[in-house]
């Protein structure tokens, strides 16, 4: 525990609370996590996505956050797993949202989410529609295109140049938002594998205790991240 900055002062304050107990689990959890490497992406069995949808999400996220260059790509961060699990859960089914009709899917984007589709439904309907456009325009489904053609197709999708039904208009913005969520969310949601994305930018994750740091001006915080389950990177 000596590598947790600010820990002694925090322990003094929290010693009688359940938070103190949670902290004491850090080291044990880290060991348990290290012992279990995750299923490789090519053997992952999606909870929600079909095989074709999985192939699309793998290919699209790999272009949205590519592997080349510094820092992990979406594939190294296991973003497709995150997206699959989110769509299988209450985000996918829009449980918290007001989904009562009538729906005006043609409303301007600044009126907010107005499609009758849930996020899961949006992926289900938009992927084949976009793949069909890719086949017509570029000669193959998205996942089968080369990187340059994939980038061109995604750019067209982002600019609204792919003629999709109005109900599908939030698709690119949703896919991009979900990709970044999976890149930066706590690893317990399936993405940000090994906290590599946090390491890359210098975000310390769930450390959340910086008592002596406000007045250390212009000094880079030195410690790597911890996750909610207590893993370290």
């Amino acid at each position: 525990m000596t590598d947790l900055p600010g820990y002694p002062s925090r322990r003094g304050f929290l010693k009688v609370s359940a938070a103190g107990l949670a902290l004491s689990g850090v080291a044990l959890d880290a060991k348990a996590q290290d012992a279990q490497p995750p299923v490789p992406l090519d053997r992952y069995e999606p909870e929600y996505l079909t095989a074709d949808e999985w192939a699309f999400v793998m290919a699209a996220t790999a272009r949205l956050i590519p592997s080349e260059g510094d820092g992990p790509g979406a594939i190294e961060a296991r973003v497709p797993v995150f997206i699959d699990l989110q769509l299988a859960g209450d985000y996918g089914t829009a449980d918290d949202w007001y989904m009562v009709g009538p729906h005006d899917a043609e409303a301007a984007p600044d009126r907010g989410w107005q499609t009758p589709l849930t996020p899961a439904g949006l992926y289900r309907e938009a992927i084949p529609a976009f793949d069909a456009w890719c086949a017509e325009t570029h000669g193959a489904a998205f996942a089968a295109l080369d990187g340059q053609a994939q980038d061109a197709a995604l750019t067209a999708l982002q600019k609204g140049e792919v003629p999709l039904a109005p109900e599908l208009s939030p698709f690119f913005a949703t896919l991009l938002a979900n990709t970044k969520e999976g890149y930066f969310a706590d690893p317990m949601y399936g993405g940000n594998h090994g906290m590599q994305s946090w390491v890359y930018i210098g975000f310390p994750g769930a450390r959340a205790a910086f008592r002596e740091w406000p007045e250390r001006h212009n000094v880079k915080y030195p410690l790597g991240p911890v996750s909610i389950k207590g893993e370290r990177a």
């Binding site: 949202w97 907010g112 969520e181 969310a185 975000f203 001006h217």
Partner: protein, 589 residues
């Protein structure tokens, strides 16, 4: 057939800041009190404990502490010419849910209004004449003065545990505080919090420009603290998870840290969660309420709860909705100007500048929601409205408040939103950007209002409330003025890159990006029953045993975050109930 429960002295609708204040103060009078809370129960332990709360996806993005639109939402249109569409997923504003309400997930920015803001129409008339008031602006005076509210601001600040330094102590201007604030009868309960690097750079630039910087007034503990109810707070550790989160540290002021545990120990107080009030029931003569009808989620039935006094202390928008559904006044009609319920809905006019310094280390995750150095040099009581061509002002603030990377990833304009360029950009710029924000006033206008939607209904079959709202030129001009003053100051700090974000003339209200949850007005205070929904004690003009708490009382919005005024007004109202109403229930005006 509704179940009917035993009569109570007081029923409280919504257990956030103001419901908790009413609960504990009226319980101390010996009254039998029931609070009904639509959402779930939640407490620091176990609900906000470390590390579970340090979860940006769950709380910051999926908004699990917030009101679920599937249960309650509004429809929105920008003008009477548009068809209002439901606010289906949360974006622009985030009403809270559950015990503690928005007081649980706020940032902790606690301000008092300037005295001039509470008598703004008179202030304008005295200095420039009423002819500078633009057509369509419902500019008003609050029917209560700063001097009358001062003891109640002071008391709320002691309860909530506010850190800061007085700039105006009984009229004496004090170094290090805000020289443009209203007078204070006492120093802050706790000293100011420490200053982060970005704040200190901003302070230096302000001093060089001749401005008057001060540390933000914060509902964040800077020391160990015990409040008047015996509730204890511990000093903040700058974890960076305030807004959208419950505080795991007992450092952020909230109903949980300041009131609820003391209140729950009182035998004459009871609260029920998952109990959504559907309407206030009026007596046959329409002059008093007999109680409320609520939906008991566990029993899956409606319950009539009789009570002698009804306190409406849900979020401002939900208060207005309940009042419209219950006939607690006449709905406002913008065409004729008649009616009062839904009138003067207002919001906040904000902007800001981002500054990028390639070689600076800001550690943006080291912060809290009310962190920062502020100036009030371009605030309401400093601006020459006649010369500038608008009515209003703003305060500026610079300070790290969260470095959570899904949402807080400022990048220079021109950085691609995805692909290799985006990935390179986040690696290059995360931790090397700071911002200065302008948090500005928002006036009330004839055409920004709330009423009932003709099309969409909630799960109980009640019409949703409809919000008609768009930005108005007066406030946009104010915003552009702030931009013209902030950009030179930002440039004086010599950033490698800087960029501004201020709405300009013609801007349309966009419900998607988060802006602020300072939704005000709709059941405004007034001198006469013709002008507003409640009198100077926040007692409804319609039914004298119904009192409405919260920012719905605001005549127009101030330039500040609303909680300080909301808390002060709540103690002012409770004082009137205790000292004037209980002994002789009647209209107090």
């Amino acid at each position: 057939m509704a179940r009917q429960d035993k009569k109570r002295d007081v029923v409280i609708v919504g257990l956030g800041w103001t419901g908790s204040i009413a609960g504990i103060e009226l319980a101390r009078e010996g009254l039998d009190i029931l609070a009904l809370e639509r959402g779930h129960d939640q407490a620091t332990v176990p609900d906000f404990k470390y590390p579970n709360q340090i979860d940006e996806l769950k709380y910051g993005v999926r908004l699990k502490m917030m009101q679920k639109p599937s249960r309650q939402t509004v429809t929105v249109r920008r003008s009477g010419d548009e068809t209002a569409l439901p606010y289906r997923s949360l974006g622009s504003f985030l009403p809270g849910n559950g015990v503690g309400g928005a007081g649980t997930h706020w940032n902790g920015l606690n301000w008092r209004p300037q005295p001039e803001e509470l008598r703004l129409r008179s202030y304008v008339a005295e200095n420039w004449g009423e002819e500078i008031i633009p057509e369509g602006m419902n500019l008003g005076d609050y029917p209560v003065s700063y001097d009358e509210l001062e003891p109640f601001f002071t008391h709320f600040e002691k309860v909530a545990g506010i850190s800061g330094k007085a700039g105006n102590l009984k009229g004496e201007i004090r170094e290090g505080g805000n020289p443009f604030e209203g007078w204070r009868s006492e120093e802050f309960p706790m000293p100011p919090l420490p200053t982060t690097y970005d704040s200190s750079k901003f302070r230096d630039a302000c001093l060089a420009a001749g401005y008057h910087p001060f540390q933000a007034s914060a509902g964040i503990a800077s020391t160990a603290y015990v409040n008047p109810y015996g509730m204890q707070m511990g000093p903040c550790n700058f974890c960076g998870f305030c807004e959208r989160y419950g505080c795991y540290q007992y450092s952020k002021s909230s109903p949980q840290t300041a009131i609820l545990d003391a209140l729950k120990r009182m035998p004459n107080f009871e609260y029920r969660t998952e109990s959504e009030v559907l309407r206030v029931e009026l007596a046959e003569d329409g002059k008093t309420a007999t109680g409320v009808t609520y939906w008991d989620e566990a029993a899956q039935e409606e319950v009539f709860q009789p009570a002698d006094i009804v306190i409406l202390s849900s979020f401002s928008l939900n208060n207005v909705h309940l009042m419209l559904l219950s006939g607690l006044g006449e709905a406002y009609d913008p065409l004729t100007g008649t009616g009062t319920l839904g009138k003067n809905y207002a919001y906040q006019m904000n902007g800001g500048v981002s500054l990028f310094f390639e070689d600076a280390e800001f550690n943006p995750f080291v912060g809290h929601g009310a962190n920062g150095v502020c100036i009030d040099d371009f605030s309401v009581n400093q601006n020459d409205f006649g010369a500038l061509g608008f009515i209003g002002g703003s305060y500026w603030r610079s300070g790290t408040f969260n470095g959570q990377p899904i949402r807080s990833m400022p990048l220079p304009k021109g950085t691609p939103s995805w692909g290799a360029g985006w990935k390179e950009g986040i690696g290059k710029w995360y931790g090397h950007a700071m911002s200065i924000g302008s948090h500005g006033s928002h006036m009330a206008y004839a055409n920004n209002h709330l009423d009932l939607d003709p099309t969409y209904t909630d799960r109980h079959g009640r019409p949703l409330m409809r919000m008609t709202f768009n930005w108005q030129d007066n406030d946009l001009k104010m915003n552009q003025y702030q931009k013209s003053r902030m950009e030179p100051l930002a440039a004086s700090m010599n950033p490698d890159v800087m960029q501004s974000s201020f709405k300009g003339i013609g801007a349309q209200y966009d419900v998607r990006p988060y802006q602020t949850t300072h939704n005000t007005g709709g059941h405004i205070m007034s001198e006469t029953a013709r002008e507003g929904a409640v009198n100077r004690y926040c007692q409804t003009w319609k039914a004298h045993n119904v009192f409405a708490m919260g920012a719905g009382n605001f005549v127009q919005n101030t330039q500040y975050n609303p909680t300080g005024l909301v808390g002060g007004l709540a103690y002012w109202t409770v004082q009137a109930i205790r000292t004037q109403y209980l002994s002789n229930p009647r209209p107090l005006v």
